[in-house]
Subunit: 330 residues, 2 copies
């Protein structure tokens, strides 16, 4: 049995840099036609020059990947700088609160400090992508506690397009639904299928540890309901975030799930299980493009129903569902 899908978009991916990037970008290219690459490299992507170079680095590794860029909103930019970054391929800024996830030690303590740039972004029709977690709150409450900032942004910049990234809680799903059409959310594959049980329920499973944390069963159900209702505000951003085996399993305990190589096969299964395969194309290659204001993907890709076992590591990182059997493949 074959399934013909539009070549998927991934509106949230970490391709890393240097030697690692080559493998990660090639793996992404095997799965996606377009990706929005996150800017939390070291040093971060935060200038017209670094946007340009990062795009070139990715394209050198994965020439057939259509690369959309972000820059890190960890300082204010002039209109001139924003226009230059835009010209070089940046369509969105990524906001990281201070210290909430990988390479966010240069994150922002107070989002209001970034309002001058955000106002310019609204004017230039750029998208603001939010890592929506409140530093210092209890781990399961961090996303919920962040929502007040989203609501305030929304009121202050009524024309700004905002994406709340990787929503993981019932409260965030409800908030995005309630806010106007210029507010959307990405949903990862892992938040569709994991809860806290999959990290600390039985033995500790570092490969499932990520930010925001997968939460309670009710939260997973809310995320699933958003996806399987076909609401156009919710689209795929895998937040695929490879860490080397060493970083994941050692004392450093890095946060991030490497899902790019398995994302689409898992999504096909999930949509099939819910008897919602008709909604899959919009989720992986429709609503996101519409929201970002870019043409929908025209290319197609075929998946076949044929079991395969996910390797224990891919590109030196432990992938989501490592060792498990999936039933669809390209």
């Amino acid at each position: 049995m074959d399934l013909i899908l539009p070549l998927p978009d991934d509106f949230h991916i970490h391709l890393r840099q240097g030697k690692d990037l080559v493998n990660y970008a090639q793996s992404a290219m095997q799965q996606f036609g377009r990706v929005l690459a996150m800017p939390n490299t070291e040093p971060p992507i935060n200038s017209a020059e670094s946007v340009k170079k990062y795009k070139e680095e990715i394209l050198a590794a994965a020439p057939n990947l259509e690369v959309l860029l972000t820059f890190k909103l960890n300082k204010n930019y002039s209109e001139q700088e924003l226009r230059e970054m835009q010209k070089n391929g940046a369509i969105a800024a990524k906001y990281y609160p201070l210290g909430v996830t990988t390479n966010s030690q240069d994150g922002v303590a107070k989002i209001e400090d970034m309002y001058p740039t955000i106002e310019l972004m609204e004017k230039l029709n750029m998208v603001l992508c939010l890592h929506g977690e409140e530093p210092g709150a209890f781990c399961l409450d961090r996303e919920k506690e962040f929502l007040k900032h989203l609501e305030k942004l929304c009121k202050t910049f009524s024309k700004l397009r905002i994406v709340l990234e990787h929503v993981s809680s019932a409260e965030a799903v409800e908030c995005v639904k309630r806010l106007p059409q210029n507010v959307a959310a990405t949903i990862t594959v892992h938040h569709l299928i994991l809860t806290l049980d999959d990290i600390v329920g039985d033995s500790l499973r570092p490969q499932n540890f990520c930010k925001p944390l997968p939460k309670l069963p009710k939260d997973k159900e809310a995320v699933r309901a958003a996806v399987f209702s076909g609401n156009s505000k919710f689209f795929l951003g895998t937040d695929s975030a490879p860490h080397s085996l060493e970083k994941k399993e050692c004392l450093c305990g890095a946060a991030g799930v490497y899902s790019a190589p398995v994302a689409i096969p898992i999504l096909i299964e999930e949509f099939e299980n819910e008897n919602k395969l008709d909604l899959l194309s919009n989720f992986i290659a429709g609503f996101g493009a519409d929201f970002y204001g870019i043409p929908r993907q025209a290319k197609k890709v075929a998946y076949t129903k044929k079991e395969w076992q996910v390797p224990k590591t891919i590109d030196g990182a432990v992938p989501l569902k490592a060792g498990e059997v999936l039933r669809w493949q390209k």
Copy 2:
């Protein structure tokens, strides 16, 4: 400044077996006068002969440690067998639900299946120690969901002394308080000071991963309130559970905190911070002995206020607060 305390009792400790046991037992002997050793070795302690041998093995390693034994309630025993185990030093049985923690793959699916033995234990005045987690429930609800079994046991065996081990939730604390005087609870050092934030809040910290999971701030506060109220139903059982560095940090993700070497210094700090040092002796060497019906410890031990840094590993295992500075030592 010196602090003179009764030599502490630990009513819940894992000393492991074989080569590892030597170090762990000696470390325990440096901290405690008496310990209640848990029976989840491989194979488990579940016969008069294995009780006797385990006691001898511990005493060979730590001759000055007073060793109280448990046996594993993973099958029914005859009155004769119970009497023999009692004669060999077993004062309690430990009940593990199926699959909830380390070496519980031989645990019990239905506690009612053990009622014949529990009835005999009541008659022989033995104590029942419960790992109170309901298999299959969501990780944060497992203890709460187990309480129905505790309540039923309590009604069915009104004279049986029961210890709910390592209480970690507000609901369990409330339940133990509400039930009659023959129901008590141990409290670990780590559940006094950790929440889920200390495992998955920032980077992943495998050294703090244990069962039952440290939970929400409100749960930690309830556990602390039970201890600092001086309620005689709550006494120290560290559940110190060393795993080799390898087992803790690798994919296997073993559950357990190694607290024995640091337990008393941490407790002194915590009681001092709460301005409740007058309640410490009862918690570490009073209420437990009373509940178990053994004489209170007569020996004393002196602690000095002098800072020291907890080593990164002790006995090849990562201790609680590894690398941190504590302010009391022997």
